[in-house]
């Protein structure tokens, strides 16, 4: 690595240190977290830091959230480090491909949990908004009601479809399953589906939907 490149990398990673990332993994981090950087310290300091920060930046979605301003700064620093990395010869880059295997192990040590590639658990509101976004695109869906209790969120999806044609509800069930898969341990969602064409003349929605449920979407 040339001196120029080394200086550029050093400045970029030093900049990263000054952001919230530095608080997590840099000199501002607890001794336990700083220890996770040891494998990288066996390489040339500047090159190892660049590689380390590239990997950490790539995994930022799995790491504790930062304030939005810090995220923007990290993104710009990531771009700087990436452009420097791309400037290195393939030989240099190959040297650091093996530490990649250690990233998952390091991540586990940092966060104390297994690496998974999945979205962060979302709040109840984000989840039912995601559900609304999905079912609002399904033509037969007419209304969605919501009630929230301390330990459970209940959603009523009202459809207008040929009576007892259950196959038309498959996209609705798929949307429900997507939401159910995102629930954290202490979260519960109870989904109901009613086809107004199946209700008798005497039976109105108001007799089925609890009075504390609110209409949150209507076509």
């Amino acid at each position: 690595m040339s001196v120029t490149y080394a200086e550029k990398v050093y400045c970029a990673v030093n900049g990263a240190e000054r952001t919230g990332w530095g608080k997590q993994f840099g000199m501002g981090a607890t001794p336990t977290l700083r220890l996770t950087r040891k494998p990288f310290l066996q390489m040339s300091a500047h090159e190892s830091w660049a590689k380390y920060w590239l990997e950490m930046a790539a995994r930022r979605r799995d790491l504790p959230e930062f304030e939005s301003a810090e995220i923007i700064e990290v993104d710009s620093l990531t771009s700087s480090i990436e452009s420097i990395w791309q400037g290195w010869s393939p030989g240099f880059r190959r040297e650091f491909s093996s530490p990649k295997k250690n990233i998952d192990k390091l991540f586990e040590e940092i966060c104390g949990r297994t690496v998974v590639t999945q979205a962060k658990p979302a709040t109840n509101q984000k989840l039912y908004e995601a559900y609304l976004k999905m079912v609002s695109t399904i033509d037969i869906v007419r209304q969605v009601f919501l009630s929230e209790a301390e330990d459970i969120t209940a959603i009523w999806t009202i459809i207008d479809a040929p009576p007892f044609e259950d196959s038309v509800c498959t996209p609705i069930y798929d949307a429900q399953l997507k939401i159910l898969r995102m629930l954290k341990e202490d979260m519960l969602f109870d989904f109901h589906v009613f086809n107004i064409s199946e209700l008798s003349d005497d039976l109105k929605l108001k007799h089925i939907i609890p009075s504390n449920a609110n209409l949150v979407w209507q076509r």
């Binding site: 007892f164 798929d174 399953l177 159910l180 629930l183 109901h192 199946e198 089925i208």
Partner: protein
């Protein structure tokens, strides 16, 4: 905590009850729907209790809300999860709502939802599908 053997026993017992009462030809289609659901529910519970990747409360769900969550989060049930939710929905309609199930609808539910779910679950549990 009930185990796979218990749930398979309950499912097969429910199947025997269904047959003994000739529910497939009964005019009480709503109860036939309910029994079909509970047959599948116990097979689902048998699969859930075998999935060690699930948290304890989902391996042995205490109610239908937890069970639906468990079904969604158990990879082995992906293939029949949507059909299971429909069986659950129709069992609730049968039990609590003023919705009449025609014989035609029941036959479709039996063929397109109950049979595929039951057969998939029995096959997964290494049981003959008969």
């Amino acid at each position: 905590m009930p185990n796979e053997t218990f749930h398979v026993f309950k499912a097969e017992r429910n199947e025997a009850f269904y047959s003994s009462c000739n529910l497939d030809s009964s005019k009480y289609t709503e109860w036939a729907v309910v029994v079909l659901f509970y047959i599948c529910m116990h097979y689902v519970d048998a699969v859930l209790c075998l999935d060690t990747s699930l948290p304890e409360d989902l391996r042995d769900p205490i109610d239908h809300t937890n069970r639906s969550k468990a079904v969604a989060q158990c990879p082995d049930l992906d293939e029949i999860a949507s059909k299971y939710l429909n069986l659950y929905r129709r069992s609730r309609d049968a039990r609590y709502n003023e919705i009449d199930f025609s014989k035609k609808f029941f036959n479709t539910l039996y063929a397109d939802y109950y049979c595929p779910v039951r057969d998939y679950l029995r096959k997964h549990l290494s049981l003959p599908t008969q």
